[in-house]
């Protein structure tokens, strides 16, 4: 009887649990950049936000033409990219935003694999690891003379697969990064 009660309890709360899990912002590989629209002024703005459903469609479509890409995309849940060229006044705010994101990600046990401070240029690359591998990749860069780039890829990321796509997408090999 007690087991039956437990089953009923599970059935009652199961939909709520599933709904809670479907929220991408709860995924450990998700990185919150906050509101970047205040910096995204002018024409030099690129914003990409592609969720799991559409990524899977692209993966299915490119299965025959580009199986490597399809294979890699299948495990992804979100691709989020913000690229913009901040004006001189906003440069300082962008840097402080990058520092804020850095603190938050480190607090959430993200692993910072690259941190470059060259003059005023900043490059930070983070990975979120779990027992099964990488669950998220985040990149924040800022070049005062150029652009600010914010990238977050959520999902199971196989660096070997990305490495194989290096030539195709002009991505340098990541084989030097230790995969856990």
């Amino acid at each position: 009887m007690l087991q039956l009660k437990n089953y009923l309890f599970l059935i009652f709360f199961f939909p709520a649990l599933l709904l809670a899990q479907s929220d991408i912002t709860k995924h450990p590989g998700y990185a919150d950049f906050g509101d970047l629209t205040e910096f995204e002024q002018g024409d030099n703005v690129t914003e990409v936000f592609i969720e799991e459903g559409l990524i899977k469609m692209v993966a299915n479509l490119s299965k025959s033409d580009d199986p490597q890409l399809s294979n890699m995309l299948n495990d992804l849940k979100l691709v989020k990219v913000n690229i913009f060229k901040p004006d001189n006044r906003a440069g300082k705010d962008v840097r402080s935003r990058i520092e804020k994101i850095d603190k938050e990600l480190i607090a959430k046990k993200w692993e910072r694999i690259v941190k470059v401070r060259d003059k005023n240029e900043v490059v930070n690359i983070y990975v979120k690891t779990s027992a099964s591998g990488f669950e998220g990749l985040t990149i924040t860069t800022f070049d005062p003379k150029g652009e600010a780039v914010f990238v977050n890829i959520v999902g199971r990321i196989d660096l070997d697969k990305i490495g194989k796509l290096t030539e195709k997408f002009n991505i340098p090999s990541l084989d030097k990064v230790n995969q856990k």
Partner: protein
């Protein structure tokens, strides 16, 4: 205090086939009617039965007399120790009931609660399927998919550029100037020291 009479034996002494739960129920109803605790419908039914059935009438009368005798008994004050025991038992029962979890309260012994919970579960599942299905089976136009593919390729290109730039900064700026030069300087100093010594 209710006196039990073996009505079955009285009624159906010669008809053992009638020893059924129906007869036991009827006996209970006769007793309840006699003691005045039966509902109105049962009371009327027993009264009508007793009019047409002498056996029922006799049993009903006997129980009614017993009930009247019981009611006529003088009231005796309950001993304190019994009252204390009853209070203690009530307190114990309260504490046990308070320990029960929400789930047990929801699902134990209350058919109304169980039905409500089951109904809520069904509504929840149906609601979940209705609201979730568009997300899973969202359809995109060919153009949207092609645009998404271009955007994904562009995103990976940009990631590639970041890695490429980072590598060139590390290889051309950081390693030679900030790591290589101090090491070379240290080696030169060490050489000077060794050669000088």
């Amino acid at each position: 205090m209710k006196k039990h009479i073996n009505i079955n034996e009285k009624y159906f002494r010669n008809d053992p086939e009638h020893f059924s739960s129906e007869n036991f129920d009827r006996e209970e109803k006769i007793i309840s009617a006699a003691y005045g605790s039966a509902d109105l419908f049962d009371k009327i039914k027993i009264c009508i039965d007793s009019l047409f059935n002498s056996e029922v009438r006799a049993v009903y009368k006997e129980y009614k007399e017993t009930a009247a005798a019981v009611k006529s008994l003088p009231k005796v004050e309950c001993p304190d120790e019994v009252i204390l025991k009853v209070h203690k038992s009530i307190e114990q029962l309260k504490s046990i009931t308070a320990k029960h979890s929400i789930t047990e309260r929801l699902f134990s012994g209350k058919p109304a609660f169980a039905s409500l919970a089951a109904l809520a579960a069904v509504i929840g599942i149906i609601g979940f399927l209705i609201f979730r299905s568009p997300v899973i089976e969202q359809t995109y136009s060919q153009q949207e998919i092609e645009t998404a593919e271009k955007q994904l390729r562009y995103s990976f290109e940009r990631i590639g550029l970041v890695f490429k730039k980072t590598r060139s900064v590390i290889e051309e700026e950081v390693l030679p100037k900030q790591v290589g030069q101090p090491i070379l300087k240290s080696i030169n100093k060490l050489n000077d020291l060794l050669l000088g010594g």
